[in-house]
């Protein structure tokens, strides 16, 4: 195993590109690509990888919520994923969306999950094999989960407000300008309809990118503990809520805290700023 991984709280939740290259034909795994760029998968991907789109496949098209357990079982079935399949996620943008997809799988109780350290960028930078061929796998009989485990990994606005009012740790992982309220979207991205800028009162600012290296890999456990446990003073056994703009960057931080540092109770407020910044009378703080 990669030396860096052995120090993580859950080294089984992360693999490197070398491991992936040696397991392309492993029938026990399913490689899953999830991206920000909606057409990127079609331009080339890891051989054997299926594509799960965060919006088309994981979200309800009518109300702002995730698919239901029946739809999740159907998604897994058509992608050849069984309940014991090890799902190995990778994607663009330093694995934002692959962490988001992994988080969604975890929400349905699928715990055999891995992230490819460095994601798509590292795989391509290393000139590893790619293909445009879309794989096809026999449908599985994925059991319909009893329920979605929202309570375990997800926070809603009311819970987040109560959490903030109780002075419990809340981590805003957006860019500093978004946190201060100078802008309502991250640099390089379009405004997506948020009416107010700022942050949830009491939130601490630690952009998601502080957990990542230049090559999109995760920082070492020692570095991550310095950022989150020491500097932010987060309690590994306490309750922590993370949020961003729509829940994708905070999925990255959720993965770091939960799997790399082993925090016991971290939830992702996926409504995030696009909900909070539009909610009538929701309290907002501006500035540092």
């Amino acid at each position: 195993m990669n030396d860096k991984f052995t120090s993580y709280a859950h080294p089984e939740a992360i693999v490197d590109t070398e491991w992936l290259s040696q397991n392309l034909d492993n029938p026990a795994i399913r490689i899953i690509e999830s991206n920000e760029d909606v057409l990127l998968y079609e331009t080339g991907h890891v051989p054997g990888a299926v594509h799960i789109d965060w919006r088309r496949d994981l979200q309800d098209d009518d109300i702002r919520d995730y698919i239901n357990p029946e739809e999740f079982a159907a998604l897994c079935s058509r992608n050849g994923i069984a309940s014991d399949t090890v799902c190995v996620f990778y994607g663009d943008k330093s694995n934002w969306w692959s962490c988001y997809a992994l988080w969604a799988f975890r929400m349905f109780g699928h715990t055999n999950i891995r992230i490819v350290d460095g994601g798509r960028a590292k795989w391509f930078a290393e000139n590893r094999p790619t293909t445009r061929e879309t794989p096809s796998f026999p449908a599985t009989d994925y059991p319909v989960p009893e329920k979605r485990l929202d309570d375990e990994v997800r926070a809603f606005a009311k819970e987040t407000l109560a959490h903030a009012e109780a002075g419990k740790p809340l981590v805003d992982v957006r860019s500093p300008g978004e946190f201060r309220g100078d802008v309502t979207h991250m640099p390089d991205y379009p405004q997506e309809g948020v009416l107010r800028g700022g942050h949830i009162p009491g939130a601490q600012s630690t952009p998601w990118s502080t957990a990542a290296n230049e090559d999109a890999t995760f920082k070492s456990r020692e570095q991550l503990e310095e950022i989150y446990t020491k500097n932010l003073n987060l309690d590994p056994e306490g309750e922590t809520i993370v949020y961003c703009r729509i829940g994708e960057r905070s999925s990255h931080t959720w993965f770091v805290l939960t799997y790399l540092l082993g925090y016991a109770n971290v939830r992702n407020y996926d409504g995030s700023w696009t909900e909070w910044g539009n909610t009538v009378r929701a309290p907002i703080e501006k500035g540092d």
Binding site: D37, V38, L39, L40, E42, T43, R55, D188, Y189, P190
Partner: protein
């Protein structure tokens, strides 16, 4: 007011009609094919332009350079250079618009309505990436407007 696809420059009209006839999956396949051809739209060595507009906007994930030369007969010739982080859909629209609009007068490009875009990329992608799909057309129109403004000013 312009409404029908017959109002578009001929090459663009052909592309619109082609995409409009495709199913969503086929649209995506053809968008990828156009995206693959985006590098062919970059400026070529030794080319001179009447206007160069290279910048990084908030609406796009990387720098986009728009180069415009207006040739004899008031024919526009666009070249567009895209940074490596520019998304695939923007790459595709770049190749489509360069192919569809090169040869048209700047005035007519400025007048083109953007309601053809959903016919090309499909409703799903417009919904997901509503600003991305219009970005390159906006930049090309901006270049035409700046060129025309300068031309008119210089002719006084």
């Amino acid at each position: 007011m312009k409404n029908g696809s017959s109002d578009y420059p001929e090459r663009l009209r052909e592309i619109i009609e082609f995409f409009d006839s495709l199913e969503e999956v086929e649209k995506r396949e053809n968008l990828i094919a156009y995206a693959d051809n985006a590098p062919k739209q970059e400026p070529r060595e030794g080319e001179a332009f009447d206007l160069e507009d290279v910048r990084k906007d908030e609406e796009c994930t990387d720098t986009v350079g728009v180069y415009l030369r207006v040739e004899e007969g008031n024919r526009s010739c666009f070249r567009i250079a895209l940074g490596p982080q520019v998304q695939t859909l923007t790459r595709a629209m770049t190749a489509i618009l360069c192919t569809g609009l090169n040869g048209s007068p700047p005035e007519s490009i400025l007048d083109i309505r953007q309601d053809f875009v959903p016919k090309i990329v499909g409703g799903e992608l417009v919904r997901i990436r509503s600003q991305t799909v219009y970005y390159v057309l906006g930049r090309m129109k901006g270049a035409c407007k700046a060129y025309m403004h300068r031309r008119d000013r210089d002719s006084i």
